[in-house]
């Protein structure tokens, strides 16, 4: 019973209690860089979550055979390989998204959420727990990026997932598609998130 409860905890903590974006404020580079629309945020979130899941599984499998001194280089090679796989698949099958995300796809390699989970969790836990941890963190990340992208898209371009709901020549808050808007939107969303989850900042 305690085991099941523990696994549930592994999964849920990434979504709310230890949400990588709104609580731990990790991986800010892609978070602020690509979320100019909800679609971009969702795409980036899924790509990152996939790499996170695969690298957590791989790291958890090889954790006992890798000497402690070279574990970080080994993790980086594993992560970089999965990122390259994602990059090739996106370019082949979703070229539109590949163009939109651009340089941020290779930069998933240095996303500290992924290396952080590999080092702090997957290298110490069994494969089942690592999968649940990656899924929880991944979903938390996708959710945060999609919400941030949606807010910026609604305010900045007057549309959601590309569906425009304002007239063509309407004045929208262009600020929110530009980099400063990313910081402002993220700050307010973080406040809102922590308020809703009853956290004192």
């Amino acid at each position: 019973m305690a085991e099941i409860l523990n696994q549930k905890q592994n999964f849920l903590k990434g979504i709310i209690k230890e949400n990588p974006i709104f609580v731990m404020l990790l991986g800010m580079c892609p978070t602020l860089g690509v979320t100019s629309s909800a679609y971009n945020g969702l795409g980036m979130g899924i790509a990152t979550a996939f790499v996170l899941l695969m690298s957590n599984v791989a790291v958890s499998l090889v954790k006992n055979v890798i000497p402690a001194k070279v574990r970080i280089p080994a993790f980086i090679i594993i992560i970089a390989s999965f990122v390259t796989v994602v990059e090739m698949i996106l370019e082949a099958f979703v070229p539109f998204l590949y163009e939109q995300l651009g340089i941020f796809i290779p930069l998933i390699v240095v996303n500290c959420i992924i290396l952080g989970r590999a080092e702090a969790f997957a290298s110490k836990n069994n494969i089942m727990a690592s999968i649940l941890d990656a899924l929880g963190m991944g979903i938390g990340f996708i959710m945060a990026l999609t919400v941030l992208g949606a807010v910026r898209e609604i305010l900045g371009s007057g549309s959601l997932f590309g569906l425009k709901f304002v007239p063509d020549n309407a004045n929208t808050f262009i600020l929110f598609i530009l980099p400063p808007g990313a910081f402002i939107a993220l700050a307010y969303l973080t406040v809102l998130f922590n308020k809703l989850t009853n956290k004192t900042i």
Partner: protein
């Protein structure tokens, strides 16, 4: 001593094995995706060609010519279009690095007379919401059916005929620059393109 040696060997081996595995699996995925990747690229090009050219029945991608140009270091790509062996126009790739964030790449379809049939923007990194408006019809509309020999390809602020985008004069200027480059390449080679097929 021996312990240290063995751990060194252990480190070496574990890293070696990981890199070899990752290298081979990347090669495998690359083999899988290389065909769809090329197809996606080609599809995008063909779609753009269909937009900017009048009806054609040849394969402009196969008939593509690379032309040396003084304006840019790279050669210029020209895609000639033929209908029943008659030259009906050509699509030219115009590039400029004078955009607000560097490279802008456009494809322009010219009729044999030098009139612009249509323009599409292939690549740009302009400011979202300002410079990116140059990909929208509202801006591109003004170039349709225009003959550049009688049209001043400059923004109105510089004494030309082009309506610049609000808040994105630099992007608009760069667009004119790329259009001019494509036009020059087209006019220089117009004659040879007509003869080629006949």
């Amino acid at each position: 001593m021996s312990k240290k040696e063995s751990s060194f060997l252990g480190m070496l081996l574990s890293l070696l094995i990981i890199t070899v595995i990752s290298g081979f699996s990347l090669g495998f995925v690359n083999d899988l995706t290389i065909a769809p990747k090329a197809k996606a690229k080609l599809e995008k090009k063909v779609n753009a060609l269909k937009l900017v050219l009048p009806d054609f029945d040849n394969n402009p991608v196969e008939d593509m010519k690379l032309i040396k140009s003084e304006a840019v270091a790279d050669s210029v790509e020209i895609y000639p279009a033929y209908l029943k062996n008659e030259f009906v126009g050509a699509a030219v790739i115009g590039t400029t690095d004078k955009g607000f964030s560097g490279l802008i790449k456009i494809m322009i379809g010219f009729k044999p007379t030098g009139e612009i049939e249509n323009v599409v923007v292939l690549e740009q990194k302009e400011t979202p919401g300002l410079g990116t408006k140059l990909t929208e019809d509202k801006f591109l509309q003004q170039f349709k059916g225009v003959n550049i020999s009688t049209f001043k390809l400059k923004v109105k602020k510089d004494g030309g005929d082009v309506d610049a985008l609000t808040g994105a004069t630099i992007s608009s200027r760069a667009f004119c620059d790329a259009t001019q480059m494509a036009y020059d390449a087209f006019i220089k080679n117009n004659g040879s393109l007509i003869e080629l097929k006949n």
